[in-house]
């Protein structure tokens, strides 16, 4: 949808003078002991004020910064007037999962980084993500929005493999276009990384469930406990579906191959977060799945997942959580807001440091991490300065839990069981913009193609794939 271009309002100065509305949040000390959501969301009046900060740019660059091209000025202008239902309609015409995106998108690098309000002296960008979240929460709390219109059935069937952000976004668009969509999920609950990876305190699971229920209302069927590649192969699915979208994600945790890495108490971030988030290990009164609750926890890595793991460890009762990262603060891939939240809660950032081996007791449990100091050398191919180990700088930290959070490779199930599918380094090869793979009728997108990325990039890929699947279903040309 083309972004709204409205006449420039006369009260520009007043708009510029309105301060960015701060996000209310739980007290840092209190929240470090519970799993409830950290940020509390804007109230309606604050959301209206925040939307009022939009200055009606002639060419709204914020839209270009959004991987799914939401008509941002359009919904902001409606919020400003208090027309929340209309605003939500505009938002949902391009993004059916606003409660999720409003919470986990890196807006500061996307829409908000291009906001003209934020470019003016002494001013900060419109908090687009916060307004988006407000609208989604308003709807969930009982506000009335128009139901999503679904086109008449086309008679075509599409299988979506994986129910993470890419799969859900693709399913939503295809259902809207009238295609029958069945989503396959290997876990017992749909949502992918949204339910197993992102902690409750950042994205409450009830919200994910509600967004997924909305998809089901549009006619999307979700089949859990079904591992495509094993329960049925892609070839099997081809017999029953007109097209297939593979969105199985990056779910093969990397380890560093260090001595002692298989000691008890050393987890991949995936395992640690899955035990806590999906399997409910934070609530042992109601769940059997255990997780080792350490006094001294060391988290290795500097991305969003590392922040999630560190903050989770704190909430599980750790006395000291140390985040060990081999570069400096500036190179950390995590969102600034996540880093700030972690710092406020008391996570110890041990930077320019890397683990070199793990030490265990006679029962095979980890008791300490040996680390080496690092220095930043010349910039590498990615432009970031390369860390170099400092000889003779070995030192140890006590640790009864270690969470290795250094990234993930592509999930191997579909590539290994689909002989005709072209892959490169385990990732599925898909054409830019269309998601078409080497197999006719089979599309792929999200982390299985991109490598571990963000929720919104995966959703963008899902939406692009939906558009090209729709075209393929109509024309039959490959």
């Amino acid at each position: 949808m083309a972004p709204t271009i409205a006449p420039v309002p006369k009260d520009l100065k007043k708009r510029f003078q309105t301060p960015r509305q701060e996000m209310p949040a739980q007290d840092p000390i209190a929240r470090g002991k519970n799993f409830q959501e950290v940020t509390l969301g804007l109230e309606a009046e604050a959301a209206k004020l925040e939307a009022y900060r939009c200055i009606y740019c002639k060419e709204p660059e914020c839209v270009q910064g959004c991987p799914v091209g939401i008509d941002i000025p359009g919904f902001l202008h409606e919020v400003e007037k208090g027309n929340f239902a209309e605003a939500l309609g505009i938002l949902k015409s391009t993004n059916l999962l606003p409660a999720i995106c409003g919470r986990v998108c890196p807006q500061e690098e996307q829409c908000e980084s291009l906001c003209k309000t934020g470019k003016s002296k002494g001013n900060r960008p419109v908090a687009i993500g916060r307004v988006e979240r407000f609208l989604a929460d308003w709807e969930r709390a009982g506000g009335i929005a128009k139901p999503v219109e679904v086109a008449p059935p086309t008679g075509k069937k599409v299988a979506v493999v994986g129910s993470g952000p890419a799969g859900l976004a693709c399913a939503a668009d295809l259902a809207k276009l009238g295609h029958k969509v069945i989503v396959f999920e290997a876990f017992h609950k749909p949502g992918g990384v949204l339910v197993y990876g992102i902690p409750e305190f950042r994205l409450p699971k009830a919200i994910v469930a509600k967004e997924i229920a909305n998809l089901e209302k549009m006619g999307v069927d979700i089949v859990c406990d079904f591992a495509v590649g094993l329960t049925a192969t892609i070839e099997d699915l081809q017999k029953a579906f007109d097209a297939i979208f593979v969105a199985t994600g990056a779910g093969l945790p990397y380890f560093m191959d260090l001595p002692g890495e298989n000691l008890g108490g050393i987890y991949s971030a995936n395992e640690y977060l899955t035990r806590v988030n999906l399997m409910g290990a934070f609530d042992p009164e109601h769940n059997d799945t255990p997780v080792v609750r350490g006094k001294n926890v060391v988290v290795v890595g500097g991305g969003n997942v590392a922040m999630d793991a560190a903050r989770t460890a704190l909430r599980l009762g750790a006395e000291k959580v140390r985040l060990v990262y081999r570069r400096s603060h500036d190179e950390m891939p995590a969102r600034e807001e996540e880093i700030e939240h972690a710092e406020e809660e008391g996570i110890d950032f041990t930077l320019l440091t890397t683990p070199v081996r793990y030490l265990g007791d006679d029962k095979g449990r980890v008791v300490a991490v040996e680390c080496r100091k690092m220095e930043l050398g010349e910039p590498g191919p990615d432009g970031r300065r390369k860390p170099v180990e400092v000889a003779g700088s070995e030192h140890q930290f006590p640790a009864d839990v270690v969470v290795v959070s250094i990234g993930n490779g592509p999930n191997p199930l579909v590539p290994r069981t689909t002989p005709g599918l072209e892959t490169k380094k385990g990732k599925i090869v898909a054409r830019d913009g269309s998601g078409r793979t080497s197999m006719k009728g089979v599309f792929a997108g999200g982390d299985i193609v991109l490598g571990a990325a963000t929720v919104i990039l995966a959703m963008g890929a899902g939406r692009q794939a939906a558009a090209s699947i729709h075209e393929y279903l109509q024309t039959g040309t490959w």
Partner: protein, 282 residues
């Protein structure tokens, strides 16, 4: 292809030995897709763990899979409480790489205790591929043995060994292998499944004897699709994920001691989960 929501109804339940139950579960897609050596992950009910269980048998026509489970902790105890006609919350599979089946000659399939169940479909597949299959059932005593008839059907010959001599010959699985080797000469391969110490000692012996040996590992696992890395095990000095790289590995290269230690990580938590179960049952 069946695409409807699945329900995993318990159709039949039988006690094979004290605390060892056979469960026949409706799971048509798994029954159709499974091959020898593969396993499933089951979740008994809301709030219970995901545990891996090897498929002991399957009937693709009836759409059922058979699991043989020993009650060792809270989840397997919970499983034992499910009645015929009730449903398991979840059953995912078939998982893992299937057994590599080829015609290689005389193969000895050793099932130690509860390991008799997972070795059964492998024996079937190896026999179907034209091998001479000698089955060995080994347990502490006669009360812990089961699947005698099933294994006789699956193998060319079955030998029974017990630690106390209460059935068959007195001795361990390793004694059985020594005896067979003395009789038949060349054993092409040993497949050994059972408790970790049994697999460890069988592998140690067959390494000395120069017999290729496959073992099937059953470590702590969460997702079963390669996502969590919880099931990692050292094989030939390298970390492998049992759920996608296994469950079968060359017994001569597995670090069994590390595996034992990793299996014991949650002993304390297990006690807590058991207390919760007892409270619920009361």
């Amino acid at each position: 292809m069946e695409l409807l929501k699945q329900s995993f109804e318990l159709l039949e339940k039988r006690e094979l030995a004290p605390k060892v139950n056979l469960y026949k579960v409706r799971a048509p897609q798994v029954a159709r897709a499974r091959k020898a050596g593969q396993f499933v992950i089951i979740r008994v009910c809301e709030g219970s763990e995901r545990i891996p269980l090897t498929i002991a048998d399957a009937d693709p026509v009836a759409g059922t899979v058979t699991l043989v489970v020993q009650e060792v902790g809270s989840t397997t105890a919970r499983m034992a409480q499910v009645k015929v006609g009730e449903r398991f919350a979840d059953l995912l599979g078939p998982l893992g790489a299937p057994t590599h089946v080829a015609k290689i000659g005389t193969v000895v399939c050793v099932g130690g205790g509860i390991g008799i169940a997972p070795v059964h479909p492998i024996a079937q597949a190896l026999k179907a591929a034209g091998n001479r299959v000698i089955g060995v059932l080994a347990a502490r005593n006669t009360g812990l043995l089961f699947f005698r008839d099933e294994m006789r059907k699956a193998c060319d010959e079955v030998r029974v060994w017990t630690d106390d001599g209460s059935e068959g010959k007195k001795g361990l699985a390793t004694d059985a292998i020594k005896e067979i080797q003395a009789e038949v000469g060349q054993i092409a391969e040993v497949v050994a499944i059972g408790p970790v110490p049994m697999m460890k000692f069988v592998s140690k012996l067959t390494k000395e004897l120069g017999i290729k040996t496959q073992v099937s590992l059953n470590p702590v696992m969460v997702d079963g699709t390669g996502m969590c890395g919880g099931c990692r095990v050292s094989v030939d000095g390298k970390s492998k994920f049992v759920c996608v790289d296994g469950p079968e590995f060359d017994g001569h290269q597995v670090d069994f001691d590390e595996l034992s230690r990793r299996q014991a990580i949650y002993k304390e938590d297990e006690r807590r989960a058991m207390e919760r179960l007892v409270k619920e049952v009361r």
